[in-house]
């Protein structure tokens, strides 16, 4: 569980004992390598470059190709209700993640430490649910949630996101808690905790890194998602930003510079979260095969 968190260390000793004759060749190699890395960096930064450059043009400038202006940014809120949409995204994200954690933590604790008669089988069933794409069950899901009257507000989307995120969080927490020594929980129990107390006062504090991993991964996933927000939030004024952008883009009537400005805004929170919590992301991704 812990081995992969540390990023690879910078080390120069790998090339240290090179004989002088090979020195220049190694140097040329290093420069070629560096050059290649720069080229890749340019490619990977291309989306950001497109968003920024394009958004800094007016529609006319965009069509003709030249010039810069703040016009698209100024008119942005008139075309796209950015503020409202970011708020919707935030609400949906936070609520879903909260449910995923509240449901996933006790389940992970149960599967790892309080095993009941069928727990292994149940665990496997839940983990298999990770593999079910929403599209496969889209129609019944949509009809069910609609019939429950949950597509009116955020609730439908929140519950669907929570259900889709729960298998992963259960899997991650279970794996994480298996690495926590039984004695730690037992020490707490002998010290006077019940199982709920052990969960709340020992397990949750110890699981902070795993909680961070789930939160970051789910945040990016939900923030960036289109399908659920598109179908399960019927009210256009409650659309999350990703959905708002996609719908405008698909409509093909919105000015592209403004779309790009909106895109940039939508990308910002996920990027910040990502840059701040990179290591938790890596940890979550390699969950299950690390060590």
């Amino acid at each position: 569980m812990t081995t992969l968190i540390t990023p690879p260390q910078e080390s120069d000793d790998r090339e240290a004992p090179t004989p002088p004759s090979r020195n220049t060749r190694a140097k040329v190699g290093r420069w070629a390598l560096f050059f290649a890395m720069v080229v890749i960096a340019v490619v990977m930064l291309y989306p950001f470059w497109v968003m920024i450059i394009t958004s800094l043009k007016s529609e006319a400038q965009f069509l003709s190709g030249g010039g810069f202006s703040w016009l698209s940014w100024k008119h942005l809120s008139a075309t796209i209700p950015v503020g409202q949409e970011v708020l919707s995204s935030t609400i949906v994200c936070s609520a879903s993640i909260l449910i995923i954690l509240v449901v996933g933590l006790p389940a992970g604790f149960a599967f790892a430490k309080l095993r009941f008669r069928t727990s292994t089988a149940v665990f496997l069933v839940i983990v298999s649910a990770m593999m079910v794409p929403l599209q496969a069950i889209l129609m019944p899901e949509f009809v069910n949630v609609t019939k429950l009257g949950l597509t009116g507000g955020y609730f439908g989307a929140i519950l669907v996101y929570a259900a889709l995120g729960t298998p992963f969080s259960v899997f991650l927490f279970t794996t994480y808690f298996r690495g926590v020594p039984d004695e730690l929980i037992e020490a707490g129990i002998v010290d006077g905790l019940g199982y709920f107390g052990a969960l709340w006062r020992l397990v949750v504090p110890i699981a902070i890194p795993a909680i961070a991993t789930v939160t970051v991964l789910q945040f990016i996933q939900i923030w960036d998602d289109l399908l659920v927000g598109l179908l399960f939030i019927q009210n256009t004024s409650e659309r999350p930003i990703t959905v708002g952008l996609a719908v405008l883009a698909a409509g093909r009537t919105t000015s592209i510079p403004e779309l790009m400005a909106g895109s940039f805004i939508s990308a910002l929170p996920a990027m910040i979260v990502y840059l701040g919590f990179q290591r938790y992301l890596v940890k979550g991704l390699t969950m299950g095969i690390d060590r």
Partner: protein, 387 residues
């Protein structure tokens, strides 16, 4: 504070043999009881049943006068020290020690006072704000102790609390734990497989084997009067020499075949021992410290050769094999008769200044006063119960 009573307590994991088999053991209030035995004999399981971490398959377990078989750990009011300490990694030393009090709902000032008191007993006062990660092994061990003593519980349960420490620290903490236990007078069940710990710390020692209690006694009684071959071989370091012999005896003496040599052990103890019938096998046990070098003319000596010599500083362990004085040692192996004590060999413990080298031929005396006799078939001592 309370006494502890195991009455026929049995634990069976799934199928298979019981991990703890009809254990009946009484621990007096304030008593320091040590559980010893080889790995896998059920020590931890017994302790965990007492803590409420493991369910009891059958039998009755009492703390004080209450049957606790189905009482939750948190309602048993016992404190446990784990082998790997199990400190809460996200809490400081002070929080670790005070945790049980906090759960119990003691007031903040009360907790602070008790934690400070425990910390001073354990010389932890300077480390109260540190996280467990930033402590040495010995300090962590003391925090684990602190977590237990701060509660003034009904009983302390300790599972090999010293096994992760280095030798020097272990000796130190051995004394420390014994001191604190005496200071607090709380009934303690202490699990170890280190017999030095068992001998030095326990008021009484319980020896387990395959889940079955072999003997409970004071350390000295255990040493002097092991009830069976297993206990005899288990307690004492290096272990007691156990030699299988055939009895060829009249009423007042026993002859022991030792290799090709036969010695007579005058039977002083006919009154205190059950004398087996002639022709039966017995196991004679002699502690290494009771194997004494003499000259060949003394009675009851055998000729042995030094095979190996281990100098431990304060003492020397000498591994001896018997030799037949009439035969050339190199030819011995081929000539030897098949005999039940063919492979007999002895370990002797000697003072550090004894001049001995490998290959020496020595006469050793096996003093019958210090010999133990066990029925070879059952392993049970032939000594009559004094009671």
């Amino acid at each position: 504070m309370a006494e502890i009573d195991f009455d026929g307590v049995t634990k069976i994991f799934g199928v298979g043999p019981p991990a703890v088999d009809h254990l009946s053991l009484h621990v007096d209030d304030g008593e320091f009881m040590v559980l010893v035995g080889p790995s896998g004999c059920g020590k931890t399981t017994a302790l965990r049943m007492l803590a409420g971490l493991e369910e009891i398959t059958s039998g009755t377990l009492k703390i004080g006068n209450a049957v606790v078989n189905n009482v939750l750990p948190k309602d048993r009011d016992v404190a446990m020290v784990f082998q790997n300490y199990a400190l809460y990694p996200h809490m400081s030393v002070a929080e670790n020690i005070g945790f049980a009090l906090k759960i119990r709902g003691d007031s903040k000032s009360e907790i602070k006072r008790k934690v400070a008191e425990a910390a001073s007993i354990l010389h932890l006062s300077e480390y109260l704000e540190r996280r467990p990660k930033a402590l040495s092994g010995g300090q962590r061990q003391r925090v684990a102790m602190g977590r237990a003593i701060v509660r003034s519980p009904q009983a302390f349960l300790m599972d090999e609390p010293l096994s992760n420490l280095d030798a020097k620290l272990r000796v130190e903490m051995r004394l420390e734990i014994a001191r604190i236990q005496r200071l607090l007078g709380v009934a303690t069940v202490y699990v170890t497989h280190d017999q030095v710990e068992a001998m030095t710390m326990g008021d009484r020692v319980a020896v387990l084997r395959d889940g079955q209690l072999q003997q409970v006694d004071t350390p000295q009684d255990l040493y002097d009067h092991p009830v069976n071959e297993f206990v005899a071989g288990f307690m004492g370091s290096p272990p007691m020499n156990l030699v299988r012999c055939r009895v060829r005896a009249g009423n007042d003496r026993i002859e022991v075949d030792f290799g090709d040599q036969t010695i007579e052990l005058p039977w002083h103890y006919t009154s205190s021992h059950e004398l087996p019938a002639s022709g039966l096998d017995v196991v004679v046990g002699i502690r290494p410290e009771d194997v004494i070098i003499t000259d060949a003319s003394s009675p009851n000596t055998i000729q042995t050769r030094v095979e190996r010599r281990e100098a431990l500083g304060a003492e020397i362990l000498v591994h001896l094999s018997h030799v037949d004085p009439n035969t050339d040692p190199s030819a011995y192996a081929e000539n030897a008769r098949a005999d039940i004590s063919r492979k007999a060999s002895l370990v002797a413990k000697m003072g550090p200044r004894v001049k001995i080298t490998v290959g020496d031929v020595l006469s050793v005396q096996l003093s019958p006063e210090h010999a133990h006799f066990f029925d070879a078939a059952t392993g049970v001592t032939l000594r009559k119960r004094s009671r």
